[in-house]
C-alpha cells in the first residue's frame, strides 16, 4: 500500500474516548474480540484537541508496520492487529487515536505499558496509522470454511 497519512492527535488523558469497562476487559483478554464493543466507533478523523495541546505527529503507515512487529504488538494482537488469544483486535476502525495513545501509555489490564522512553509519540502515531490501514476482511458468509 502506498504511504497513507493519517492525522493523529495526541490528547491528554482528560480527553480520553468513551469510557471502557476496564475491569472486565483486563480479566478476560481472550474474550475481548468476541463481544461487541460499545462505544468502539470507527474513527479515522483527527481526534478532538484541547486548547494548548500540540498536534499529533502524522502517522506513517509503512514505518508503523515495521514497528508493530519490532516492538512486539504482533505477539499478542496478531500480525495484522486482528486479535489473538492474548490480546484483542485493535483495528482497523475500532477506536480513536486518543484511546490508542492512552492505552499504550497506561494500560489498565494485562497489556504491558509502552513509555515515552521506549516508544515515542511519533512511533505510536505510525503504528496507529498502520493499524487503521489494515484491509477489511471478507464477509463471513462468503467463507465456506466458516459455515456453521
Amino acid at each position: 500500500m502506498s504511504e497513507m497519512k493519517v492525522l493523529v492527535a495526541v490528547v491528554l488523558l482528560a480527553l480520553a474516548g468513551p469510557p471502557l469497562e476496564r475491569s472486565r476487559l483486563a480479566a478476560e483478554p481472550a474474550l475481548r474480540t468476541q463481544e461487541s464493543r460499545p462505544g468502539a466507533a470507527a474513527s479515522q478523523q483527527p481526534s478532538r484537541r484541547g486548547p494548548g495541546v500540540p498536534a499529533a505527529p502524522l502517522g506513517r503507515v509503512d514505518a508503523g508496520g515495521v514497528l508493530f512487529k519490532k516492538v512486539g504488538c504482533y505477539q499478542c494482537h496478531g500480525n495484522e492487529a486482528q486479535g489473538g488469544l492474548s490480546g484483542p483486535r485493535i483495528g482497523p476502525n475500532l477506536f480513536p487515536s486518543t484511546r490508542f495513545f492512552e492505552y499504550l501509555r497506561k494500560p489498565t489490564g494485562e497489556m504491558p505499558p509502552y513509555t515515552v522512553k521506549v516508544l515515542s509519540d511519533q512511533d505510536i502515531a505510525d503504528i496507529y496509522a498502520w493499524v487503521q490501514a489494515r484491509p477489511r476482511p471478507p464477509a463471513v458468509n462468503t467463507l465456506p470454511q466458516l459455515a456453521r
Binding site: 496478531g78 500480525n79 495484522e80 489473538g84 492474548s86 516508544l119 464477509a139 466458516l146
Partner: protein, 647 residues
C-alpha cells in the same frame, strides 16, 4: 529392613534346590517374604547347604525347561488380568525379562508393546491414551535413567489427575549386577517421583508383586486418579518360578467413587433452584462419557449457564447453555456457582493481574454462594504446588462430581415448581442468545487476517474443520492456546467425549506430540479420524514420536501450528522488557526457532511419513489437507507443516 542387608538366595541356589534335593518342596519355593517369617510346620526340612554349594554355578542349566515359566511370565498373567492393552516403552535391559515375557509368553497382544524413542514420550502417550476411553496403559522404563527421562511427563499426568501405570526395572541385589546394572540400580527408584505419584511399591516376591500390581491399579483408578509406580526387581523378573510355588492372580475389585453426602447434595439443589443466575463450572468433571450426558441434564433442568474449563470434554461446545466463550461475564453475573472438579477454584472467581506489581481482585459477586464438589478435597500432597490458592466456599462436598450428579439432578427435579420453571425458561432464552452472539463474534473474528501469510491460527483451524467436519473426528492435541477459548473450541462443534482431550496438566511442554500419538492409538480401534494441531516447539522436544506413529501404523493427521518460536515465552519476556523500560525490541531473543527454520515436512519424511510444507499461503492449505487426509484414511500418519502466526 533395608534391602541391601536382606538375605536372598540367588537364582543358582534356587535352581539347584529345586532340581536336585527337594523336587516339589513348597517351602524352598515360597516367596522370599514368607521365608523370612515362620515356616509352616508340616514341611520337609531344608536341605543341608554348604557355602560352597550355595555359591556353585549350575553351569549346565542355561534355559528354561518347557514346563517352566519365568517370574515375568506370571507378571504378564497379572497385567493381562488387569486388562492392559498397550505398554509404551523405550527398551531397557532392567526390564528385559518382562519385555521378553510380553512379546513371547504374552504373544505381544494385550498388552502389545509400542516402541517409543524417549521415556517422556512413553508416559505422555499413556496419559492421552487414557483420556480417550478411560483405560490406563502401562509404561516400562529403567528405574534410573528411564525414570529420569519420564519424570516430567509423570508430573504432567499427576497435575492432570490421570492414571498412568509406570513399571520400572531395577536390579536390587548388588551381588548379581552386571556392570551397566550398577548405573541402572537404585535403592529406592520411585523416590524421585514420589511427590507426584499416588502410590508405589518394590515387591520382593511374585505373590507380593501380584498383590501390589492389582493394588496399584486400584489406587491409580480411584478418584482422584493419578500415576502409580511398580518397581520390578530384575532378578524377580528373570528367575524361573520355582515349581510348586503357588501363585494366584488376585481379583481386581475397584472401589466405587464417592458420592456426595445426601444432606449436602439437597442443600446444593435448594441453592440452585432458588438462584437467579446459577453457573455450573466443570473442569476435570467428566470421568466417563456419561459425565457430559449428566451435566447436560442438570444444566437443562435448571436452564443454567455452564462453563467448561476444558481439562475434560464436559459439555458440548455449541450447546445453547454453554457460556464458555463469555466465561468471565457469566461468573460476574452469578449468584450461585457450583464448581465441579475444579483444578483452580480461586482462579475461577478471582483475577490476578500480572504486571510489575501483581495484584488480584475477586470477579465473582461478593455475596455469590460458592459450592465445590471435588475429590481434590480428599487427597493432597506437599511440595509441588499444583493445588492452587485456597478458595473459601460456602459448601465443600468432598466427593466425585460425576458420581454426585445423578442424586443432584434428582434433588433439583423434586424442587422445581411451575413458577420456577417459567423463570428458568426465560433465563435459558437469554443464555441461548448470549452464547449464539459469542459464537457469531468468533466466526467474524476469524475472518480478520484471512488472507494473511503467515497463516492466522483462526484460518488454520477453519481449514481443518472444513476438512474433518463430516468425519468421526477426535482432536487429539491442541493445548498451548487458552484451553477454554482456543480457535478449535471457538469454531468447531465438539459434542462427543473423545473429541476434546484437555491438556498437559502441568504445563510441561513436549506433551502435545506424544499425546497425539497415544490418543490416536486409542482412537484407532474405533476407526476415528485423529487430528492434532501441533506446535513446533513442542514437537522439537522428542520428534521420535513421528517414527512411533509411522512404525505402528497409527492414523493421525498432524497439522503444524508452526510459529517458529516458543511464542508464549516471547510474550512473557516482552512483558519484562516493557515493565523494566529499557529496551522493547529484543523480546524474541532466546525464544525463536529460526535461522535455520525447521523443515517439519522433511523431518516427518525422514521417518517414512507423508508430509507437505512449509505452507505459507493460506489458500494452499485446503488441498494439502485433503491429500494428507487421504493418507490418514488409509491408516497411516501424515503431516502438513503450516507456517502460522502466533496463536
Amino acid at each position: 529392613m533395608s534391602r541391601s542387608t536382606r538375605s536372598k538366595p540367588g537364582l543358582e541356589r534356587r535352581r539347584f534346590l529345586q532340581q536336585g534335593a527337594l523336587a516339589g518342596a513348597a517351602l524352598v519355593a515360597a516367596p522370599r517374604v514368607a521365608e523370612a517369617q515362620a515356616a509352616p510346620a508340616a514341611q520337609a526340612p531344608p536341605p543341608v547347604m554348604t557355602h560352597a554349594a550355595e555359591g556353585a554355578e549350575p553351569a549346565d542349566v542355561l534355559t528354561l525347561r518347557d514346563d517352566e515359566r519365568a517370574g515375568s511370565d506370571f507378571m504378564v498373567d497379572v497385567f493381562k488380568s488387569l486388562g492392559f492393552e498397550h505398554f509404551f516403552a523405550n527398551p531397557g535391559s532392567s526390564f528385559r525379562g518382562l519385555h521378553e515375557s510380553v512379546i513371547n509368553y504374552g504373544g505381544n497382544k494385550s498388552p502389545e508393546l509400542i516402541t517409543c524413542c524417549h521415556e517422556e514420550s512413553s508416559v505422555a502417550m499413556a496419559h492421552a491414551y487414557y483420556k480417550v476411553d478411560g483405560k490406563p496403559a502401562g509404561v516400562m522404563a529403567h528405574g534410573t535413567v528411564g525414570l529420569q527421562h519420564a519424570s516430567m511427563a509423570i508430573y504432567n499426568a499427576w497435575c492432570d489427575r490421570v492414571p498412568v501405570y509406570v513399571i520400572l526395572g531395577n536390579y536390587a541385589d548388588a551381588a548379581i549386577r552386571r556392570g551397566a546394572e550398577w548405573y541402572h540400580g537404585v535403592q529406592d527408584a520411585a523416590a524421585m517421583v514420589r511427590d507426584f505419584t499416588k502410590w508405589d511399591d518394590f515387591p520382593w516376591s511374585l505373590t507380593h508383586f501380584a498383590e501390589s500390581a492389582v493394588r496399584a491399579y486400584q489406587v491409580a483408578m480411584t478418584p482422584p486418579m493419578a500415576p502409580v509406580v511398580m518397581v520390578l526387581d530384575g532378578e524377580l523378573q528373570e528367575r524361573p518360578i520355582a515349581r510348586g510355588e503357588r501363585l494366584v492372580v488376585p481379583k481386581l475389585s475397584m472401589p466405587v467413587p464417592p458420592q456426595g453426602e445426601r444432606g449436602a447434595v439437597e442443600e446444593v439443589a435448594r441453592m440452585l433452584v432458588a438462584a437467579e443466575y446459577p453457573v455450573l463450572v466443570a473442569d476435570r468433571m467428566a470421568r466417563t462419557p456419561n459425565g457430559m450426558t449428566l451435566l447436560i441434564e442438570l444444566a437443562e433442568t435448571l436452564q443454567a449457564a455452564v462453563i467448561d474449563q476444558g481439562s475434560r470434554m464436559n459439555f458440548p461446545s455449541r450447546h445453547p447453555l454453554n457460556q464458555t466463550l463469555r466465561a468471565r461475564a457469566a461468573v460476574t453475573d452469578a449468584d450461585v456457582i457450583v464448581g465441579l472438579e475444579l483444578a483452580d477454584y480461586w482462579g475461577t472467581v478471582n483475577a490476578l493481574r500480572d504486571q510489575l506489581h501483581r495484584s488480584s481482585r475477586q470477579v465473582a459477586k461478593a455475596n455469590a454462594k460458592l459450592v465445590s464438589i471435588t475429590t481434590g478435597d480428599l487427597y493432597i500432597r506437599a511440595n509441588y504446588q499444583d493445588f492452587r490458592r485456597l478458595q473459601a466456599v460456602d459448601l465443600a462436598i468432598g466427593a466425585d462430581a460425576e458420581a454426585t450428579l445423578p442424586p443432584l439432578i434428582d434433588a433439583v427435579k423434586r424442587l422445581v415448581t411451575a413458577d420456577r420453571r417459567r423463570l428458568f425458561e426465560e433465563r435459558g432464552a437469554k443464555l441461548t442468545q448470549a452464547s449464539r452472539a459469542a459464537a457469531e463474534a468468533a466466526r467474524v473474528a476469524a475472518t480478520y487476517a484471512w488472507e494473511a501469510s503467515p497463516v492466522s491460527v483462526a484460518r488454520l483451524s477453519a481449514e481443518v474443520w472444513a476438512q474433518i467436519r463430516g468425519d468421526d473426528w477426535s482432536l487429539v492435541s491442541s493445548y498451548y492456546s487458552n484451553d477454554q477459548t482456543n480457535w478449535p473450541r471457538r469454531l468447531w462443534n465438539f459434542d462427543k467425549s473423545y473429541q476434546w482431550l484437555g491438556h498437559a496438566g502441568g504445563g510441561g511442554i513436549g506433551y502435545g506430540a506424544p499425546a497425539a500419538v497415544g490418543a490416536a492409538l486409542a482412537n484407532r480401534r474405533h476407526g476415528r479420524l485423529s487430528v492434532a494441531i501441533q506446535t513446533d516447539g513442542d514437537m522439537m522436544y522428542a520428534p521420535g514420536v513421528i517414527w512411533t506413529a509411522a512404525h505402528h501404523r497409527i492414523p493421525l493427521l498432524w497439522v503444524m501450528n508452526n510459529n517458529r518460536a516458543y511464542h508464549q515465552e516471547i510474550m512473557h519476556v516482552q512483558k519484562m522488557c516493557n515493565g523494566r523500560n529499557r529496551g522493547i525490541d529484543r523480546g524474541e531473543v532466546g525464544s525463536q526457532l529460526v535461522d535455520p527454520n525447521i523443515d517439519f515436512a522433511k523431518l516427518a519424511q525422514s521417518m517414512g511419513v507423508h508430509a507437505e510444507g512449509p505452507i505459507t499461503n493460506p489458500n494452499d492449505l485446503g488441498p494439502a489437507l485433503r491429500r494428507a487426509m487421504a493418507v490418514v484414511k488409509k491408516g497411516e500418519p501424515a503431516l502438513v507443516d503450516v507456517v502460522t502466526q502466533a496463536r
